[in-house]
């Protein structure tokens, strides 16, 4: 009952982090489940980071970048866009539900949007329960 999801949020510095910051400074209330990691661009989010987050016990991963066309590095978010479908399918093959991973475009002015995304994600994951992808969670060496 008292399960609170741990969501790792990778936010690009130029749009999404600013957007999240805006949500904070505008006192928009949103769920406290996201641990934010600021990256220079969404393209910096190597799929390894996402796997690593789950390996470390995350229950969800949120990646946010500038809207297409607005990336500070011009093409970075297209790169992210191309990478995401395969990453999501791979996570699906690992048995991680699609609701646990999201890619969203959030601009610097979209504080509200960021809050909505976080609330929605937290609610869905809360309903699903913890993610068991972390190997240590399901493994007892004595019970192989």
């Amino acid at each position: 009952m008292d399960f609170e999801p741990k969501i790792v949020g990778f936010l690009c510095n130029w749009c999404s982090y600013t957007g999240a910051d805006l949500a904070g400074t505008s006192r928009i209330k949103y769920e406290p489940n996201v641990r934010v990691i600021r990256v220079m661009c969404s393209a910096r989010v190597d799929p390894t980071f996402v796997l690593k987050a789950f390996e470390q016990g995350a229950d969800g991963v949120l990646i946010c970048g500038c809207h297409p066309g607005d990336c500070h590095y011009t093409e970075g978010n297209y790169k992210t866009m191309r990478r995401f479908p395969l990453l999501k399918r791979l996570l699906g093959d690992y048995g991680i539900e699609p609701e646990r991973v999201r890619l969203e475009w959030v601009s610097a002015s979209e504080g509200h949007r960021f809050a909505e995304i976080v609330n929605d994600m937290a609610a869905k994951i809360r309903a699903m329960g913890p993610c068991l992808a972390r190997p240590a969670l399901t493994e007892d060496p004595a019970q192989r």
Binding site: D46, L51, K52, F54, E55, K79, R82, L90, I96, A133
Partner: protein
């Protein structure tokens, strides 16, 4: 007093025997090894050389080359025993290194695997619903077989590993190099990957590389490969850019794509994650729908990303 000869063991866990054949494929060289070392244990080729591993002193063996993954209780037991008896433990071949092809089983549960093998397949005896049991009582007494684990493990998951030799199987020339280093005592510092290069397969691949951009992926049977051009640029998935070299570019030189058997590049933790980046990066589109359509040409992403290394990946197995 003559120098004490090197004491060596070769052993297999859940393996196919290809790693042992790779040692045999060093041909006459193997006679030199036999001259320089006592091969105390090598089930495939040497008969009666050795009496009893358990009776050995701890660390009596200088080196054990362990090939194969850990699939059941017996594999784990022997791995631990040999670890105790050996000064140096080498994970030899991709199964020991990363879980190998048998590691693909980590996408399925023990029950699913047993079900397919013994309860649901077209050639089973009708009406027989028997499953193998770790213990069976028969009229004359009790019979035991090892426990089939819920999943596959790397060697390093059950014992400490000192060196890793990648490859499925390791190329015989690499085997030679590694054995030479063992015999001459010129192994690098502990923890190293030996018998492989620091570069990617692509770096050694002689195929012509231009700009990688594709609007469609092809499965290898769907297109007649241009024998000169990079396969990935032709839209055929190839793991050469995310795979450590050392195999002699065996697959692209057979006109077939690399599937990654030499494992990740140095300092890469998860080969599959890099594979995803590499494949997505060549998709020639900025339109989400078109991207989806192009990537639909890549089925079974798990099977390509971790063909040889699911147990060695960050998440190790499917839920």
């Amino acid at each position: 007093m003559a120098e004490r000869k090197l004491q060596v063991a070769l052993y297999w866990g859940a393996a196919c025997g290809g790693c042992d054949v790779a040692v045999l494929d060093t041909n006459e060289f193997i006679l030199d090894v036999a001259a320089a070392a006592d091969i105390r244990l090598w089930p495939i080729a040497v008969d009666g050389k050795y009496q009893d591993v358990e009776a050995m002193d701890d660390a009596e063996l200088d080196v054990t080359l362990f090939n194969g993954a850990v699939r059941n209780s017996e594999n784990e037991h022997v791995a631990k025993l040999l670890r105790r008896k050996s000064k140096i433990m080498v994970a030899f071949g991709t199964c020991a290194h990363l879980g190998g092809i048998p590691g693909l089983a980590n996408q399925f549960s023990r029950e699913e695997i047993m079900e397919r093998a013994y309860l649901n397949n077209p050639s089973l005896e009708v009406g027989n619903r028997t499953l193998p049991q770790t213990q069976t009582d028969c009229a004359a007494g009790q019979l035991e077989i090892p426990r089939f684990y819920a999943r596959v493990y790397r060697l390093a998951d059950v014992v400490e590993v000192d060196y890793t030799v990648p490859g499925c199987p390791p190329h015989p020339s690499q085997v030679k190099a590694v054995l030479t280093a063992v015999v001459t005592g010129t192994l690098p510092p502990r923890g190293a990957v030996v018998g492989a290069s620091e570069r990617a397969v692509c770096d050694d691949c002689p195929r012509k590389k231009e700009e990688k951009r594709v609007a469609r992926f092809y499965r290898p049977w769907q297109i007649i490969q241009d024998p000169e051009r990079c396969l990935l640029e032709q839209g055929i998935l190839c793991a050469g850019s995310v795979t450590r070299s050392g195999c002699g570019v065996r697959c692209p030189n057979s006109n077939m794509p690399c599937r990654g058997c030499y494992g990740p590049l140095p300092n890469v933790r998860d080969q599959g994650a890099k594979f995803i980046s590499a494949v997505s990066s060549i998709v020639d589109s900025k339109d989400p729908e078109e991207i989806d359509r192009i990537l639909a040409g890549v089925p079974d992403i798990m099977g390509y990303a971790y063909r040889f290394g699911l147990p060695g990946s960050l998440l190790q197995r499917s839920l």
